[in-house]
């Protein structure tokens, strides 16, 4: 058992921390958020130059061949900067899906370009009625000539407006909720019939509802082999993303707790720093409890997101999301409360941490969804009588 990181892993962590501290100040982020796109291609290229975009790409495909631990460190280090770029969406989730499910030709075409920062790809999968169930796909794909016609509605696709192309899941057969019959298609963002209803999310990022009306795609746009249902691959890519999200949340929570402690040490009331008051000390101690439990689960999630055994992987990742979802809410709410009126203002970073933590709690299935999934997966192993 060893919880330490290698020298190389520490270097990666340091490089990203330095990058976001230098090139992604609170003020710069504010400007980027206010720009028309709401994200920065310059920053994206900076991330590419650091190698972050290539970390999940195998060396054979022109990447760095790193794994979940490096992703954990990268996401944790980037967390406090509240990046508005599609790091999670393109460099983790879409990359994992193309890597693990794409044909050799698709991998050769997409992965080097994604790792180099030239091409941004985002998975458009979730639908409103799914509520966190990865197998819920109503969007349909019908054979049409030598290609397919796609129809459907993908809900709140994070960073879709930043993407050059989308990976759209669609059902070739069967009913929503069934694992079989789901395929993934490469769809260019300017394909006729594809409408992006772009908007800002609560945490300032850009997202879109993706509406597909008779979008015609060629047969070659089908990701992977036509005979295999994509559900399992999507599920695994989402779990890799979920682990990365847990790591990001860890970085955000650390920054939130640190900011709160600094404030409690400096803010004077009744003739002393407010951190001297026991009521506030105990609340801060509880924040640390949540943080340390989250750190444990972020590590566990990273170590399990590649496990082939579906039950074990889902159980662990759901547990991580529950612990971290609860922690996001507690730490976010307490940090605002303990900052008093200042915590309510847009000018303070704490309010932005709060909103990102809230968005994380609601993403990838909320706390209740994962609690239910965990309960369903563990109910079966009732121990025998003592």
């Amino acid at each position: 058992m060893d919880f330490s990181f290698s020298e190389e892993q520490h270097q990666l962590q340091d490089a990203i921390s330095r990058f976001v501290q230098g090139d992604y100040s609170f003020e710069r982020r504010h400007k980027i958020l206010k720009s028309a796109d709401g994200w920065s291609r310059e920053v994206w290229q900076g991330l590419a130059d650091l190698g972050v975009l290539a970390m999940n790409i195998p060396e054979a495909d022109g990447g760095l061949g790193y794994g979940p631990i490096e992703t954990l460190l990268a996401m944790q280090s980037a967390g406090p900067a509240l990046l508005c770029e599609p790091l999670l969406d393109s460099a983790v989730i879409a990359t994992a899906l193309v890597r693990d499910f794409g044909s050799p030709e698709q991998r050769a075409e997409l992965l080097p370009a994604m790792g180099g920062g030239e091409r941004i790809v985002v998975l458009a999968h979730t639908e409103a009625a799914g509520r966190g169930q990865p197998v819920w796909v109503e969007t349909s794909a019908k054979k049409s000539g030598d290609g397919y016609l796609l129809n459907g509605h993908k809900a709140v696709v994070s960073l879709a407006p930043a993407a050059d192309e989308l990976l759209v899941s669609a059902r070739m057969s069967g009913q929503p909720g069934e694992a079989d019959g789901v395929a993934v298609f490469r769809v260019s963002k300017d394909a006729p019939g594809l409408v992006l209803k772009a908007f800002k999310t609560l945490d300032g990022r850009r997202a879109a509802d993706v509406v597909l009306t008779d979008v015609k795609v060629p047969a070659a746009s089908l990701l992977g082999a036509p005979t295999t249902s994509a559900t399992a691959a999507i599920d695994r890519a989402l779990d890799i993303g979920l682990a990365a999200l847990c790591a990001e949340s860890l970085g955000v929570m650390e920054a939130t707790v640190n900011a709160t402690i600094e404030y409690l040490k400096t803010r004077q009331q009744f003739g002393q720093p407010i951190g001297r008051f026991q009521a506030l000390q105990h609340r801060t101690a509880d924040m640390l409890l949540h943080l340390e439990q989250s750190r444990s689960m972020a590590y566990l999630a990273a170590m399990h997101c590649n496990v082939a055994d579906d039950t074990q992987r889902r159980k662990t990742l759901s547990a991580a999301k529950v612990v971290i979802g609860n922690a996001c809410r507690f730490i976010g709410q307490q940090s605002v409360q303990l900052h008093g009126g200042m915590g309510m203002t847009e000018e303070l970073n704490v309010s932005h941490f709060f909103k990102r933590l809230m968005a994380i709690e609601l993403s990838f299935g909320d706390t209740d969804t994962h609690l239910q999934r965990f309960a369903a997966l563990t109910q079966r192993d009732i121990p025998l009588a003592a």
Binding site: M1, S4, D286, S296, M297, A319, T378, Q379, P383
Partner: protein
């Protein structure tokens, strides 16, 4: 980062598991997994069994007759014992006074006291708390005056200790006593070992809300204690006391016990019915069980992180407070759900919780749950209340 135990550690786990399976009597296991009250003989029997295997002092170094296990091995040992339903080791001798005697006692004291501790020939209890000094331990008042007479160098002790766990069984008590009332609170305290058969000692039971006799008051009236029973230097007892509290923290999270208790909870909830279906399938109830299981998973990882730090010789420090707070919260939450699972049949009350013989009333497994829930309220109070632990975290870890 690698979260798996080494092959050596896994082999060690198998060795412990096999030993406990072979040596733990089924009747004793039955008592433990149903939280029925254990007798002095039950504890002594199990301690001797471990002692004969060379495991009587799991945290002890080889030079003092222990197995010389590292922190990870101790953790595995305690987890396996708990999972198998072995009685918890009574900590006062093995985990509390013994490390103090090893670190600060004279060679004569080590030779005299340590072998009787690991072999359970002598039962120890703790004389720390006093009626007026709970978490504010340094305010203790029990007085020890040093003198010389024809029988030699000795202390005369007067005062009262309280919350003395299982003191009714004890042969010896280790006490913090005030030897210099003029000095600042922490400075004038000494660490004394006192024979419970000394004239002037009275032990009075305190019956707790579960109807059990687990704790006691211990009164000292002109109790004569030979000076050779002083540990280390006079007036330096606070140093030794703090050292002891550090040792008390090992296995503070109670992971093994909580895992066993969650199994019990699931067994009960799979048997109890609600709306014609097992209670465990009730969405609300199963969500509560899942939440506790998840919290325990996270705590186990946190505990392993602390252990790994210890193995790399990074001091665990106030991280132990995190384990204590969360560990006791989880244990208490499980008792709440056990009570909820049996509903009104948690109400028929068996004082002392001594028997689980089949009665007319309610399922057999329900008989002890009410009392158990009551008893477990102590977890967030003793060993430094959870509020004190939060003070420690905020002051020492967060610097507030």
């Amino acid at each position: 980062m690698d979260l798996t135990f080494t092959p050596e550690e896994q082999a060690f786990r198998q060795e412990v598991r096999a030993f406990v399976r072979d040596k733990l009597p089924a009747s004793l296991r039955h008592k433990v997994v149903n939280s029925l009250r254990l007798t002095r003989d039950d504890h002594v029997m199990w301690q001797r069994t471990l002692h004969e295997r060379g495991w009587g002092g799991p945290g002890w170094p080889r030079e003092h007759g222990g197995p010389g296990w590292n922190a990870v091995q101790q953790y595995i040992f305690e987890e396996e014992c708990a999972a198998a339903g072995a009685p918890r080791l009574i900590p006062f001798g093995i985990k509390m006074v013994a490390p103090v005697i090893m670190a600060f006692g004279s060679p004569e004291q080590q030779k005299r006291f340590l072998p009787d501790i690991s072999s359970a020939r002598k039962w120890w209890c703790q004389g720390y708390s006093e009626p007026g000094s709970g978490s504010d331990l340094a305010s203790l008042k029990t007085r020890a005056v040093r003198g010389f007479d024809k029988d030699g160098d000795h202390f005369v002790v007067n005062g009262q200790k309280t919350w003395t766990t299982l003191g009714q069984h004890a042969d010896w008590i280790f006490c913090l006593v005030r030897t210099d009332p003029q000095a600042k609170a922490q400075r004038g305290i000494s660490f004394l070992l006192i024979d419970m058969k000394s004239p002037g000692i009275t032990v009075r039971p305190i019956i707790t809300l579960d109807g059990a006799h687990e704790v006691n008051e211990v009164w000292f009236e002109n109790v004569r204690v030979p000076a050779e029973n002083l540990i280390g230097e006079e007036n330096k007892g606070w140093t030794y006391a703090k050292f002891l509290l550090g040792h008390e923290r090992s296995n503070i999270a109670g992971i093994g016990i909580s895992k066993r208790e969650i199994e019990r909870l699931k067994r009960v909830a799979a048997t109890e019915m609600k709306n014609g279906k097992p209670l465990l399938e009730d969405p609300l109830f199963s969500a509560k069980v899942a939440q506790i299981e998840i919290d325990l998973m996270a705590l186990e990882m946190t505990n392993l992180r602390v252990l790994s730090d210890e193995a790399n010789e990074k001091a665990p420090g106030p991280a132990a407070s995190i384990l204590k707070i969360k560990g006791t919260e989880i244990q208490q939450a499980i008792t709440e759900l056990l009570v909820a699972a049996v509903g009104p049949y948690a109400l028929p009350f068996k004082a002392e919780n001594e028997s689980d013989e089949e009665g007319d009333i309610g399922p057999r497994y329900a008989a002890g749950l009410g009392a158990h829930y009551c008893n477990m309220r102590k977890l967030s109070i003793f060993g430094g209340s959870n509020e004190i632990q939060k003070n420690i975290i905020s002051q020492q870890l967060l610097g507030l």
